[in-house]
Amino acid sequence: MALLELKNIDAGYGETQVLWDINLQADEGIITVMLGSNGAGKTTTLRVTSGILSPWKGQILLGGEDVTRLPAHKRVELGIVMVPEGRRLWPELTVFENLELGAYTKRARDKFDSSLDLVYSLFPRLRERRNQLAGTLSGGEQQMLAIGRALMAVPRILLMDEPSLGLAPKLVGEIMNVVRKLRDDERLTVFLVEQNVHMSLEIADYGYVIEQGRIVLSGPKEELEGSERIKKAYLGL
């Protein structure tokens, strides 16, 4: 069952078109990844999906409902929640305040206690540091907080923009384990964009490859892993 669908999306900035006729879907309860190199249009795809950027053309559907015209904060109410590129925490608020504001919507506030338990059990470090200012955390901890804040919003679909960026390999593994755990234990739907092909194919169930703003390849994980194109272009095999 497709939870999220992008249909015929064109988008860009100013005069520059970045996305060309993007069609994709993220099915319920699995991890869908979008692979591509820098500047291929991954972040733009997520910005359009989260509502930060309006597409020039096309439709975005959540559970069959058209959300194309809704601003970002309204989409959060419906359950489209993004962990943005560069984490975008509020550095002068404490860890706890960042999490608290994650549960800003009425829907999320009703589940505040259980969400907080989940976040603290996934990232015990955040509980230890709850009174520390977010700006004083290490890069890995900031990524944990960014994911934690998004989980506080009780996502129906979690959008993740390069969670591995700038993290040490060991931390990347930790973050990926958490994403896997969210799928297996919480039945969370995840749509993740990554440059790190190795790592993302490891946890993905289904994937798309984007090149120069166009989707050039898609299929279940096994199919992508076997693809000559991926081996050549991304895995250096």
Partner: protein, 305 residues
């Protein structure tokens, strides 16, 4: 110099600085959250003074009621200013660019001219005030000098207001949302915060507090003329820069510092030439501004950008 004169001026500087700090709280919020530089700061302050004066002189209402009405009028004015002037410029934009900043600055400048001329038209250039009104005794003696009780009332109200607004921003979800939008508006919309709602709320609060401070300014000064806008507006800007953009506590502390510096330089200059003491004291405040911009541009409580 006589030590008691020094002490008196320190105390006066402190008492005035608290008012000055509170008067700049609205400015620091609007600037910090929305990058709106309120060039009508002085005239917006005066709105509160004149509302209380009209109610007192025309309708015989107690200045205490006048002060409360001034606050309500200020909140309403914030609502109107947002929808009439600011929404089109900053409401739906994700990042406030320099160009937008200049547009809001001009809009507020237009408001300042309109208000100033309205004050001259409606109230003239004569000093207006509450006359001999005071709660209880008009004066009390402290340290061998007399202080008007109205000044103490103004300071008490200012301190209470600063405490309330600080707690609001620090403890409530709405207050935290305002701080979140100040630090990263896009991240705020990604957790479901409606940026337009926060900007509207900030304007209502910022303008409302500024208008309310006009009541304290009037209590402190005993009487006002439209001209007083040109004293409080520039000093408010110095206070905001010294305190750090968006910092309420910074604003109060900076107000006290500027109040004391202003008071002290006035005393020193008076020894040589009393007639120029006011302008020289104002210049001293601006020398402080230049020094901050050179050596600590983020202010005392501001964060580095």
């Amino acid at each position: 110099m006589d030590v008691s004169i020094l002490a008196i001026n320190l105390v006066n500087g402190l008492l005035w600085g608290i008012i000055l700090g509170f008067a700049a709280v609205g400015l620091t919020l609007l600037w910090g959250v929305m990058k709106v530089v309120n060039l009508a700061q002085g005239e917006v302050i005066l709105m509160g003074s004149y509302v209380a004066i009209i109610l007192f002189a025309q309708y015989g209402l107690s200045p205490l009621i006048g002060g409360l009405v001034a606050l309500l009028v200020g909140l309403a004015a914030g609502f109107l200013i947002y929808w009439a002037l600011l929404h089109k410029l900053v409401g739906k934009v994700e990042r406030i660019t320099l160009k937008i900043e200049m547009s809001t600055l001009l809009a507020m400048f237009a408001l300042s001219i309109a208000l100033l001329n309205f004050y001259y038209y409606a109230f003239g250039s004569e000093p207006r005030g509450f006359g001999l009104w005071s709660i209880g005794v008009p004066f009390i003696r402290v340290l061998g000098t007399t202080i008007r009780t109205n000044i103490l009332l103004a300071d008490a109200l200012a301190l209470i207001s600063v405490a309330v607004i600080y707690l609001f921003l620090d403890r409530t979800i709405l207050g935290k949302s305002i701080r979140a939008v100040m630090q990263d508006a896009q991240a705020a919309s990604l957790v479901g915060i409606n940026p337009v709602k926060i900007k509207l709320l900030t304007t209502i609060l910022g303008i409302g507090l500024t208008v309310f401070s006009g009541f304290m300014v009037l209590l402190f000064e005993a009487s006002v003329t439209p001209e007083i806008a040109h004293k409080y507006a520039p000093l408010s800007f110095v206070v905001v820069v010294l305190g750090g953009l968006g910092s309420v506590v910074g604003s109060l502390v900076a107000g006290i510092i500027i109040g004391i510096i202003y008071g002290l330089s006035k005393v020193v200059v008076s020894i040589f030439n009393p007639r120029i003491s006011d302008p020289v004291a104002l210049s001293t405040a601006f020398i402080v501004l230049i020094l901050i911009l050179l050596f600590k541009p983020e202010g005392i409580f501001g964060r580095k950008r």
